[in-house]
């Protein structure tokens, strides 16, 4: 089966996806869908994106052969797709650039967005500054605490950061608040959703804008290795950096794909964000997908050391790829991610985002066999995390005394 025909015209990936939103948002979603469909193959629109990719984001990002990491793990060759080298330090800007161009075409004067790790917030604040558009970012207060550097970056960029105190004070609560803002100001405002979740057409649009990661990777691997990779690995929060890497390879059946979710303190503790291990199908924030929830359908709070993976639902296309078994989904714990964070810093001179460290941690536990070629999506850099890692390491030291 060709996986690339999805979503269907109603926004479904098999049984997942759709558009489960209050009536007030229906016209805005239809306008967004129509605008996007009319532009996505438009040569001037595509040329504008390519030009900004090259001159503003710094694309193509390198595919780097991590030889010391490969040697340490002791198996096959490991490449890192260096999305951490994108302007603003993560893949999130690939989507933010695309969506702000859509917003401008729709003549929206104001942007709202949610952020967890702050990377999507920074990316959105950045493009809003570049195009001179007013921008408000919603962020859970727990995330404001642990990603404080990014909060200040957004403020420097002229964006207003609004703390969200409800629920677990993390990403899902920020999305609720951004949606409430959008409902209220829908006539003037575009909501730049930061991952492949939410109602149709967001999962499709964000995936398409992020697919530049996989398209470049495909060419780069062919150039260095003369063949396709055996394995792709990426962390999965909402699922945008992973689908961006995976999507251009979905029809290459020989390429295996692993999505790594946040195992938090461990699945058995209930404090994690592993939607496939701990969740079931539900309808949340606009889409039918796997959701962590209690038997009455109340959404469960999640835990992860990384704010960007700390989310109760997963993008609907991942639910579909999970169901069809095209991709495998696993989880690693906070501690494993932290070890990978330290290891990559020491071995390769690359400090990864805690999110991306989850993908590296998978390989530490599951060394790819000799002779194989693996690509890990290094979705972001770790500068935003150094204070939180320092705090966590001190906490651990304290415990050991």
């Amino acid at each position: 089966m060709k996986h690339t025909i999805f979503p269907d015209s109603k926004g479904y990936f098999g049984q997942y996806g759709g558009r489960f939103v209050p009536e007030l948002l229906m016209s805005a979603l239809r306008e967004l869908e129509q605008t996007y469909l009319s532009l996505k193959d438009d040569s001037s629109f595509c040329a504008e994106i390519s030009r900004l990719n090259a001159t503003y984001i710094g694309r193509p990002t390198p595919l780097y052969c991590a030889s010391r990491l490969s040697e340490y793990i002791g198996g096959g060759k490991i490449y890192l797709k260096r999305e951490d080298l994108c302007h603003t330090g993560a893949h999130k800007i690939n989507n933010a650039i695309g969506q702000i161009l859509l917003a401008l075409r729709m003549k929206k004067k104001r942007i709202v967005a949610e952020t967890g790790a702050g990377q999507h917030g920074v990316a959105t604040a950045t493009v809003a500054a570049k195009f001179g558009v007013e921008c408000h970012i919603y962020m859970g207060t727990e995330d404001i605490r642990r990603q404080s550097l990014n909060v200040f970056r957004m403020q420097l960029l002229g964006t207003k950061v609004i703390g969200v105190e409800s629920g677990s004070k993390t990403l899902k609560d920020a999305i609720n608040e951004a949606l409430r803002d959008w409902v209220t100001n829908v006539k003037t405002t575009h909501y730049i959703l930061g991952s492949v979740c939410g109602p149709h057409p967001f999962p499709m649009i964000v995936r398409d804008f992020q697919s530049v990661i996989g398209r470049e990777t495909r060419q780069q691997v062919l150039d260095c290795e003369g063949r396709l990779p055996d394995l792709l690995v990426a962390c999965v929060g909402g699922g945008s950096n992973s689908i961006g890497l995976f999507y251009p390879f979905l029809n290459d059946t020989e390429v295996k794909m692993i999505g790594v979710e946040a195992g938090g303190f461990g699945i058995h503790t209930g404090k994690h964000a592993a939607r496939f291990a701990g969740g079931k199908i539900g309808v949340f924030q606009g889409a039918k997908t796997f959701v962590l929830q209690n038997p009455q359908g109340q959404i469960q709070e999640t835990h992860s050391v990384s704010a960007g993976l700390d989310y109760s639902a997963i993008g609907p296309e991942h639910s579909f790829l999970h169901e069809t078994d095209r991709c495998k989904y696993v989880s690693v714990t906070d501690d494993e991610a932290l070890q990978a964070f330290l290891l990559l810093s020491e071995l390769e001179g690359i400090i990864p985002a805690l999110e991306s460290a989850h993908a590296v941690a998978y390989l530490l536990k599951n060394p790819p066999p000799k002779g194989t070629v693996t690509v890990v999506n290094l979705s972001g850099r770790g500068d935003k995390d150094v204070l939180e890692v320092q705090r966590l390491l001190n906490e651990k030291k304290g415990k050991n005394v």
């Binding site: 209050p22 009536e23 229906m26 016209s27 409430r180 309808v283 929830q293 038997p295």
Partner: protein, 264 residues
Amino acid sequence: MSRIVEIFNSLKVKNRKGFIAYITAGDPTLEFTENLIQELSCIGVDILEIGVPFSDPLADGPVIQEAVERALEHNTSISHIFEIIKRVRKTNKIPLVLFTYLNPVFQYGIENFAKDASDAGIDGVLILDLPPEESLEIYPVIMRNNLDMIFIVSPTTENSRLDEIVRLSTGFIYYVSHTGVTGEQSNIDSEIKKNVNFIKSKTEKPVAIGFGVSNPEQVKQVSGYGDAVVVGSAIVRRIKEYRNDPLGPKKVANFVNDLLKPLR
């Protein structure tokens, strides 16, 4: 004929406008809710909307968000709500609409939900995050169980979709009178009259207007445009105020009574 259709027919005969009150089930307790349903029915509220608490009420403003938190502190669930409705129904015929997000219903199971709701004595269902486009599976199940299914029309609803919403909606059509989340508004949108007239040019079905109505003057003003007025957050705010008062349900009803007066 459903109880909802019946009440609108009798309002028409009496040449009166309807008053619909929203309350969150289990706020602050199920017992309070049960008593409040009885009180509100006694003072002549025409239809009650019973909110099912959901952890992530993304169409609601702060007042109802807090109500939901109070209700979820003691895990109010759909089953609990059906239990109190069953008891209320022994003595009381007030039309009841369940106002909910989809996920709790989805987890309960659509078939079971519709059957149990109907058995308990619920008359209609409004699912906030279920536009008609997504209701293909659910709609026939709701109909088969003789429940009304109410859909929302908003100021942003495109004309191309209005016909379908109006066709599917049974009992009444809910017109959301301002773009935003639930909550009290100081100014009522002047477009309401025009938009409601446009809906009424398409259908004989009654139109209820809600979101933002909070005082007797607004009740009077808005009721002129449609067949019924919905008040939610303003009532929920009083529930919070009187939540620890043994006479709480009565005091909330006194407040609602003042809102009702302009319609009598």
